[in-house]
Subunit: 205 residues, 3 copies
Amino acid sequence: MDTFLIAFDLVGTFVFAISGAAVGVRNRLDLFGVLVLSFAAATSGGIARDVLIGATPPVALVNWQYLAVACLAGLITFYRDAAIEKLRNPVQMFDAAGLALFAVSGALKALEFGLGPVSATLLGMLSGIGGGIARDVLVARTPVIFQSDLYAVAALAGAAAVVAGHALALPLAPVVVAGAILCFGLRYMAIRHGWRLPVADHREP
Amino acid sequence: MDTFLIAFDLVGTFVFAISGAAVGVRNRLDLFGVLVLSFAAATSGGIARDVLIGATPPVALVNWQYLAVACLAGLITFYRDAAIEKLRNPVQMFDAAGLALFAVSGALKALEFGLGPVSATLLGMLSGIGGGIARDVLVARTPVIFQSDLYAVAALAGAAAVVAGHALALPLAPVVVAGAILCFGLRYMAIRHGWRLPVADHREP
Amino acid sequence: MDTFLIAFDLVGTFVFAISGAAVGVRNRLDLFGVLVLSFAAATSGGIARDVLIGATPPVALVNWQYLAVACLAGLITFYRDAAIEKLRNPVQMFDAAGLALFAVSGALKALEFGLGPVSATLLGMLSGIGGGIARDVLVARTPVIFQSDLYAVAALAGAAAVVAGHALALPLAPVVVAGAILCFGLRYMAIRHGWRLPVADHREP
């Protein structure tokens, strides 16, 4: 089970790193800038979570596999940019899977560190969306997760499901699976059907 | 006294969350993006302070009231945007009050954790201005606190007054009140009279 | 030796603060905004490193000399902007020296805190480049270190050299000097000869 979780975590790292590298390539960063952005996009959510719960040094810095996987994804994206662009739809699906896993595992880790339900839900969401926020802030654009198809909402829902199951003392495995499916499903449906949250009816005064 | 301080802290959270939500609405974020920005603007200063002094997990994540107050402010701003725009002057006064309280309480907390006078002053200032910096960085603009009417200076002055009073072993309550009045007063006068710091006389070479 | 290291560290702080202040002046920040940006550019790398390894409160907040040196550099740049612009080439050399020192001392500090070779290398690099990233994010532009002349690569090389020497149990002093020379030399050659990393051949689809 643990091996399975680590494998899944590294898959999430891989797809998030691809999203970071793709943004770097589009913003004309050089090769090393692309690799830094890959690593930042893949690990910032987990690093922020670890710093906030006091689990320093963060696992993404201690475990070299995160760096290796992120650099591999960055190199592939850098040298095979056109192929990655064509795969945009599959990548979005992988990204939704990564989001689901990071949200669920982030909430679990916060609960393990003794945080309450509200904090654990917030930290699960942050683990999922933090990488995308860091990626976009580093190229000076408003994070797309603030504007797109239930991205942060899906992460929140997945994390909340895990926290609720934990509070009800349900068995862990089905709770984790349900949380991940809820997050992935919400995001999948939002992409397919263009589900969006309202935008305020703002007029310049 | 403690209840009073918490009440005041939550008022500060409320007005800072309004400023975050107003920026989010103007930048066409969706509802959830607006709520995230409300929470970030209201709590980033305190969260940064807590991480820097090693007080993890940060109180704004542990205490659910911060989240509730920030979301309430975000919802009101989202659905009553026009009304909030009309209230701009009162909101600016509330914001100055929030700044005063966060600067003062931030400096106090740093002193309690055993930090020296320079660090405590800096951390008090950061507690006050951190939320505004996070809000603006997240929508990819230069923080207005770098350019506006003694904003950061007022926070620094309030925090420094508290640290000075603490160093002189003066009684706490009047020192705290004096620091808050100093910060609020400076900011109020700057807004009223357009007080500004100089900008360098830069010519493109 | 320790006095020498501290002196060198403060020289690095000074030149990084100049780079922050120069960016602030160009972006029309007011005097206090320029000082905040000076301090942020000079200390963010070290502060991020200290937070990530759990060494809170960060030394740059505890030791008042960092603040004093950064403010001095900021004041000089603010009032002698034209002179600083003329000194651009010498400043770039100082900046390369600061980068070398921060990368090397950052890696050393991470090793002292018991981190492994990969983490220590990454944290050394982050110590060197973090200030420049914070400076640019705060004025809402893509960090130039992602696009310029081996900046981050030089920091990585310097940090990696120190970590390698440590792993081989070589004597500390020559390893540190070698790491710093490697970083400085790479950066110097890149500036002189316009060495650059490739940029991906991206076409808008």
